[in-house]
Amino acid sequence: VTRPPALAMRWLERSLHPDERDELIGDLQEQFERRVALEGQSQARRWYWRQTFGLVWGFTRARRDVISTSHDRRLGRWAVSNVALDWTYAWRSLRASRSFALVAVLTLTLGIGLSTAVFSLVEGVLLAPLPYPDPDRLLRLAEIAPPTNFQSRMAAMGDRADRSSVSDVAIGAWIATTRTLESITPISTNGANVRTPHGVEQVDGAEVGSAFFAMLGVRPVLGRLLVDADGNGNAAPAAVLSERFWRASFDARPDIVGSSVTIEDHAYTIVGIAPEVTFPETGVAVWTAGHWQWPAIGPRRMFSVRLDVIARLRRESTLDQARAEGAGVMKRIALADPAFADGTVPIATARVRTLRDDLTAPVHGALVTLMVGMVLVLAAAGVNLASLLLARSTARRREVAVRLALGAARWRLVRPLLFEQGLLAASGAVAGAVVAWWILRSLPLVAPPDLPRLSEIHFSVVSLVFAAGGSLAIGLIPGLWPTWHFRGVRLRHLVATRVGDDGRVGSGDRTRRTLVVTQVALAATLLVGAALIGRTLVALLEVNPGYDPRGVLTFQVALPDGWGRQAGREGRFFDGLIARLEQNPDVAVAGASATLPLLQVGFAGSFAIVGRPKPQTPDETPVAIRNAITPGYLKAVGTHILRGRDFTSSDSNTAEKVAIVDEALVQAYFPAEDPLGQHIGWSAGRVFTVVGVAESAHQGPVSTPVQPTLYMAAAQLPDILAFNAYTGGVAVRTKSDPINVVPFVRTAARELEPDAPIYNVMRLEDRLNRTFTGPRFYAIALGLFAILALSTAILGVYGVLAYLVERRRVEFGVRRALGAGERQIGWLVLSESLRLSGAGLGVGLAAAASAAGLMRSLLFGVRPVDPLTFAGAAGLILLVAAGAAWYPSRRALRVDPSEALRME
């Protein structure tokens, strides 16, 4: 028996249109039989398969061409029913309604793009594990001093913005007694002057416990990393260089391992090269092993060393056990202090959390806010899509009614819609991916500076799929529902020519209203969020920093360690440098200081006021930031002297010792007295007469409170207090753009002293602006979200009103005929608009009020539930809703009464 291949035949049957099935398969069969007779069965079967492929392929392609180019509809009859064709139909139908497609794709693109970017960011920063083995067992230990404690007051003024360090006593006790932690290592980061083949460079260095690299599981690029033996007090000093530093400054020479390098005047042996380690901060160039002596537990001392500490949890221990252990350590330390016995000294608490939580804690609130914003935007996009689709399926009501009445399967009616939406989603996803990619690529330029793990943020495909799927699902169900669930096939649907004149409020109507209310609610919530951040930004910009950053250049100088041993060395250097700088006609005034604004380096110290009783406890001791400055410094940064005088060159080492206090210090310690002429100091020979009061200057970001500050004349202080302990800073007030004098400054410094490199050269204005980057970033992100949500809400309100006007044409006509004026008709439309947006507003503002707490950490100068902001958002939404009603109400007014009546 000769039979063509059954599978090929079945394929043909399936893919060919019924009209041509018989003819084509019959013809093939006829020729097949001839072939069998001629060349045998197997040859013929092979031929049959080839013909089958040719037919299916040829017809599919032809159909596509015909549909896109032919004017002849009759050809459509030969359509091969396959998926490619469905896509073609979808494409055609979307092209036919371009504005719908455009709005839908735009909504999806922005919704998907923004949310993919935000989710990628959140995933990279908050969710992804740290790039070290077994990252969940890496812990950060912190000793949180009670807020009234002297130590914590000092710390609040001091260099560490983040007070998550541990005192040396506690580190010692912790190391000695732990059973839950495998290893504990302190870290101390600071600048280091390293002698490289290209000269002395100032880099970030870290002194770490010898277990540091083993704990992180880092492997060397070359040589070895620090080992336990390096932590031994009498081991040869060993240094590890970062790969980047090694490549940039040691020309990637492999023979560097084993050679000697000079760091801060000390010789170290380079034992190995480490890959990029992102902790405690990126960019550390040199690691050395710290040799610390941990003091025994005993009565508290005034000062103690505080260090950052990381630890690795034992495999068999839990985080809770480690926490309990930490609390035990704190209790033992407190009990050893006699002051604790009378209960006046509050006990410090141990904070033990995973390194990842610790790194991300500062931005946790911000990212959660962004995430919530993102979900709202995605919802807004989905709802917008839903209402667009709903409008479309309503327009198809008649067609659907006819086709259902003629016996079409529901599936056949829904299928093209599915493909249409698939096409929309695909376009939205592709364009959204591009948007997200672009946002992520430009993220490093706009991201807040405190955003950790920036390098670990990558485009997340999962989130793209999630965002596309999410917005589509929200749009899909309401979009398909009306068609799928079409009821009430009546003759009147078939003959009706006007929209919705079955005269009842259908379920589509209710859905439509619900969608609009949702849109308005989403927009209101996001608008409040954006407005709160916006007001934060404005409030920050309005804060007087206490200095005038315009036209000021600042830079730091890395002073060689050895200078500390030469009396007056530093003072001579700065005097010489300032004199040289002031010779430049572009420089108005220059001054040096032990610290510069926004560098978060300040030396907090206690002092006494002569003539007052000695404080009984450390907690009552006056504390202030001590800053040693040269006479021109306050003028250079633009901090005004409010009373008294500024330092002058006659305030020399031999003259009477003088000090300038700031307003914050006056308020804290001289609330009722005149500070001028008072004597303050901290030891014999260190007593200063207050000669001036300066305005308070924010040493940190303007969102942090000002701290009492004590200025002293650098010339009157031994070097150790003036500059040595801190890398000094120089401020230069210029007459034009500060950048113009940078080459001059660099040359002047190098010529004066080649061993003291200058670094961190920056406009003070840029330094200040950088602190606004964070709020600005969140304001822009939430602002974008809000604009997107608001525009979909406008579209939604407009759509519903236009539909309403169309549906009630007759009614409006009749009303006009019965004497209703323009105002009444206009009000009918407007009130509908306000009703919808009012309902949405209620929901949205309530949601915003309950979610605003999330944003607390982001806000400054405005409360989370701020009545003015809420009222403003409400006002804007109502205004926009009224605006959206304008055009539909014009249309309602144009209804000609006589025509409307005739229609009836």
Binding site: E20, R21, D22, L24, G26, G58, W78
Partner: protein
């Protein structure tokens, strides 16, 4: 569709009808073109050409009877219309005019 109106394959198909006379269907047409030109043609292309010619009104078709050697499937018979014949003439005339006096030069070009 150009004013001269016929694609290559359409031209061949119409000519095949003229050669075969009166009524014909897919198999003989395919055979005629293949044997005459000595080159295989795409089956799908021929069937599509048939549809297109019918759509242009140059062919007319009817469904024939089912026959056992075709697995009980019906044939579709096509017949060339008056318009089809006229179109062939138009095309031929255009081609002949264009080919006029070309042969000699083409021969020279070949050698």
């Amino acid at each position: 569709m150009s004013r001269f109106g016929l694609g290559d394959l359409e031209h061949l198909v119409l000519l095949a009808f003229v050669r075969l006379g009166d009524e014909s269907y897919g198999v003989p047409i395919l055979d005629e073109i293949t044997t005459r030109t000595g080159r295989p043609v795409s089956r799908a292309a021929v069937y599509i050409a048939l549809r297109r010619l019918e759509a242009k009104g140059l062919l007319r078709s009817r469904l024939g009877e089912a026959t056992p050697e075709r697995g009980g499937r019906a044939k579709r018979y096509f017949r060339i219309t008056r318009a089809g014949l006229r179109q062939l003439h138009v095309s031929r005339e255009a081609l002949v005019k264009m080919w006029d006096h070309i042969d000699a030069r083409l021969e020279r070009g070949r050698s």
